[in-house]
């Protein structure tokens, strides 16, 4: 007791010290007022074996998890591609589940190009019947239904101007070139669409066919004329 009270009486500022304050209210103040004799220390000990085993297992599990759910680590879609969600495991698996450009998908894209993207229906009409004297019809057209689509691929790529006979009826208008606006897949789809709509029935056009003609006619500047196209075989 006497040891504790002595400094606090001689130095009143010490009352605010936490040790002193706690001691004053406590039932055994003398013991608590002394500083602790030793500081607790942290020493390095041996890591328990089970902890090493656990860490090894976690490492193994996370490796397996990445292998199973990391998507195509080697493919160009990259690690953990954003298009892969559980329960699908890899980009390749998701890709496999998506419908490939078969008949129905091509017709759907073709209809979108015809009515939405390129607005072919503004001139050729949604019915495919065209405008008399200006824009030839597509329904039942001998140009559209030719065995080989080589002429109509050229028409879509570079456009057509001047007089043209369709099913023996003369037309004289101008069609714009679509070389830069539409991709090979778009042109193949829209041609497949017009060759299989409004009662038309002809083989689908593939993007490869379009690409071959696009590459062969890169130097061509202006629109085609009907006479030039007549030189292209369509059988």
């Amino acid at each position: 007791m006497s040891k504790k009270h002595k400094p606090s009486q001689s130095k009143p500022a010490d009352v605010s010290k936490p040790g002193t304050k706690a001691a004053a209210g406590s039932s055994a103040p003398a013991k608590l007022s002394f500083p602790e004799t030793s500081e607790p220390t942290a020493a390095r000990g041996a890591t328990p074996v089970f902890l090493i085993a656990l860490l090894g297992f976690i490492l193994f599990w996370s490796d397996v998890y990445v292998m199973q759910n990391g998507g195509d680590l080697a493919a160009k879609s990259g690690a953990f591609p954003s298009q892969v969600y559980y329960p699908y495991r890899s980009y390749a698996e998701v890709d496999k589940l998506n419908p490939k450009a078969g008949g129905a998908a091509v017709m759907e894209l073709g209809e979108f190009v015809y009515k939405g993207k390129a607005k072919c229906d503004a001139c050729h009409q949604p019915s495919g019947l065209g405008t008399p004297g200006l824009n030839p019809p597509l329904a039942g057209s001998d140009w559209v239904l030719a065995d080989k689509p080589d002429r109509i691929i050229r028409v879509v790529l570079n456009g057509l101007t001047g007089p043209v006979d369709v099913n023996g009826v003369p037309f004289n208008g101008t069609m714009l070139p679509w070389r830069d606006a539409l991709t090979d897949a778009d042109i193949a789809a829209v041609l497949s669409f017009i060759r299989n709509s409004w009662g038309n029935k002809a083989p689908l056009v593939t993007p490869e066919q379009v690409k071959a003609i696009r590459d062969a006619t890169t130097d061509r500047g202006g629109n085609w004329t009907a006479d030039e196209l007549k030189a292209v075989p369509d059988k």
Partner: protein, 286 residues
Amino acid sequence: MNSGPLLFLGLFAAMASSFAGLILAPQLQIGRQPVRVLAATGELYPAPRPGLAQQGAEVYRANGCVECHSQQVRQTGADIELWLTDPGTNWTDAAKTLSLATPFPTLPARLLQGLTPERGQALAKALTDSGAVADVRVAPVGPDIERKWGTRLSVAQDYLRDYPVLIGNQRLGPDLASVGARLPDANWHLRHLYDPRLTVPGSMMPRYHYLFEKRVLQPGEQPSPDALRLDDDTKSSLEVVPKPEAHALVSYLLSLRVETPLFEAPAPKLKPVEPATNAPVATPAP
């Protein structure tokens, strides 16, 4: 404190690794996805919400709907099915390839299920080559899909127009991710909000009757065309008219639909349904 720096580093590493794993990695993986143009239709996905539905999202938020309703359809797997749309003229040839003999009463008909994608594609090609129209469909499966809460899983793309994302974490009520496709009737929703027990007996959802205004009808006065059609309204001299908040909330609910097939969420294509609009909620004339 002999090991202060070590302790600090340990804590820092624990915090940093959880930040990296829970926030940074998902952000790098699926953050900043752009609104995409669907190749098949040329439409934006997700489509922007009509203004009324955008206001309804705030009503949804203000009334705490998210406390009891989630907006996330889960999926546990996918089944590959072979569907026939048109048997064509050479059906016997096609049937031989599959060793099937029965003609189908309704088309399109499901021929096989539980296929692998490769086998499905091969069979569809065999059928198509023989003149039939067949396709392979992905049928998502899972408890949520069995409950008709949606047709495919919800993915990050579906939430691009939501801020904040009201995904919810409790399912005291049914999931609402695709409620607009499931329950397209605006009048049903209004009655349900006014008193859930009117449309769903035994529902434990609270009434949101303060989104409606009760008016006393003067003798000889016709009820408002907008008034709710309750079963006893012929006898009553009261009419219940939805406030603008109720219309906004219903418009928001009808705009919730997770059904467009996406690359990352393959699903069978459904018939197009009329999208939600800003038009006033149609009420049958009394």
